[in-house]
């Protein structure tokens, strides 16, 4: 019995070894073919350039010019714009000096401004890892932020000014995308008579638990990405990928319109926060279309 098992195991391992060997050989030969193809293509191009340099220049020059223009306009000049001293936001000397206190003061001023609004607003305090829904100075819901990530432009800004680096004004919501509907509307047609009404099941249905992710686009090029801290299903992840693609298109349109208006495109400052699913859902649904945001980074 043992011998039989051993011989079967040996056969299986031999098969695995053979399979792996064949795979490696296939990979090597495949990449060889690719290299050969590209090599021959490059050699053909070189031959063509040597044979007819003017024709080659006629093809390559406009393409290269467009690429260089795009690199300059899309990357080099905006970076120069962002990285020059005081380029993104003018920093107050006071704020740079009394870093922590000044950022606290700026945040309180933002919160007071938020309290003047008649609608619900959001305040995010990264120091305390708290996202708070509030109206008229009353904290309605305080969500603990499990994880905070900021993109490089925002991190650079934060390090540079050691404070909020934003003026004391609150941010205003401009656009929002989410994996859940803002209002979970269920359409129901009125019954024709009381008999039909009696046959309709009146038991309420709880909303199905769906993964929550939302992208809140504010003015002054600030984006808050809020997502649940619990792991997400593949479908929601695909939807998030789609939102990022849409944001890519939006950003492309933004760069193009800036260039048309002869202005340098600027960077987006992205803050990503992970909160619990319930908190994310409650916050997203409570925020009105032009909600205010008070933000404190450091």
């Amino acid at each position: 019995m043992l011998m039989h098992f051993k011989s079967r195991m040996a056969r299986v391992s031999a098969l695995v070894r053979a399979g792996a060997g064949a795979g490696v050989r296939l990979l090597v030969s495949g990449s060889g073919i690719v290299i050969q193809q590209y090599g021959s293509c490059a050699r053909a191009c070189m031959r063509w350039v040597k044979a007819d340099p003017k024709a080659a220049a006629a093809l390559i020059a406009p393409a290269a010019a467009a690429v260089v223009c795009a690199l300059l306009a899309g990357i080099v000049l905006p970076l120069m714009h962002d990285l020059r001293p005081g380029g993104i936001q003018p920093a107050l000397k006071e704020r740079r000096g009394g870093a922590f206190m000044a950022s606290r003061k700026a945040f309180l001023q933002q919160e007071l401004q938020l309290a003047r609004d008649d609608s619900i607003g959001l305040s995010i305090e990264c120091v305390d890892s708290a996202a708070v829904l509030q109206i008229k100075g009353v904290h309605l819901r305080c969500a603990h932020i499990a994880n905070i990530r900021i993109n490089l432009p925002l991190r650079y800004l934060q390090k540079r000014y050691r404070a909020t680096a934003f003026p004391d004004d609150i941010f205003r919501l401009r656009d929002q995308w989410s994996t859940i509907p803002k209002n979970p509307i269920k359409v129901r047609k009125a019954p024709a008579d009381s008999i039909q009404a009696g046959s309709i099941q009146s038991e309420p249905r709880q909303e199905e638990p769906t993964d929550v992710y939302c992208m809140l686009v504010f003015d002054r090029r600030l984006i808050i990405e809020m997502r649940q801290k619990e792991p997400m299903a593949l479908r929601a992840a695909a939807k998030i990928g789609w939102y990022h693609f849409r944001f890519g298109l939006h950003s492309f349109a933004d760069v193009a319109s800036s260039l048309v208006r002869r202005r340098l495109p600027e960077s987006w400052h992205v803050l990503r926060i992970d909160v619990s699913r319930e908190d994310a859902r409650a916050i997203y649904r409570a925020l009105p279309s032009k909600a205010g945001l008070a933000l404190r980074l450091e």
Binding site: E94, G137, K186, R188
Partner: protein, 237 residues
Amino acid sequence: MNAIPQPALPASKPRPGRGRLVLAGSAIGLVLASAILMAAPFLRDACYAVAEWGGPPMALSDFSDTALVKDATIEKQIADLQRKYSRLVPQDAYLVVSTSDNTFELRKGVIVIRKGVCSTGSYVLLTSKDSGQRWMFKTPRGMFRILEKEEDPVWHRPDWAFVEEGKPVPSPGSPERDEYGVLGAYAMSLGQGYMIHGTLYQRFLGMPVTHGCVRLGDEDLEAIFKALKIDSKVFIY
């Protein structure tokens, strides 16, 4: 001296396809440029990493002595702002309702006196077949005030209550519209037909089932009715 006859050079003709090559080059360039512009934000992000390697973005010399001296002033300003901000919280009892979780909190200042479950709007959009009218059963969000308090309230059924049951809608003011006992022992009006009241369907508490009102359990309703006065604030989110 005899000149060696040279073979006649072919007349230089404009090369066909040069214009096409320029066009093709421009088209390729446009495609590549679009791709670069599309990826520009991400590429710029990556460039910031390089900028960060160049040293700390802020030198220590930037923390000037004059700025540090100002800290005492800022502390006083912060204390003032903090005082101003904390004064915004109502010192009387007020109610906070979550339509997302279907829960409530009765608070006084920042202290939670009582909390529990409630029922809020079901987000059903009812459409009438005959008139084409639509009713959205949602609880409004924002800040409200208690406008009226009533014991043993009578429900004056609106049109949708009849449409929902497939019954003919009676004329306004008809006694058919009055229903007793369905709103529980107390009701508090928030305006525009929205109320905080009790329910016969206690088992649905904690679920979004109402037509826009806030339903509470009997004990919670009594406690809230006693705690809130006319003009007390109700926050719904």
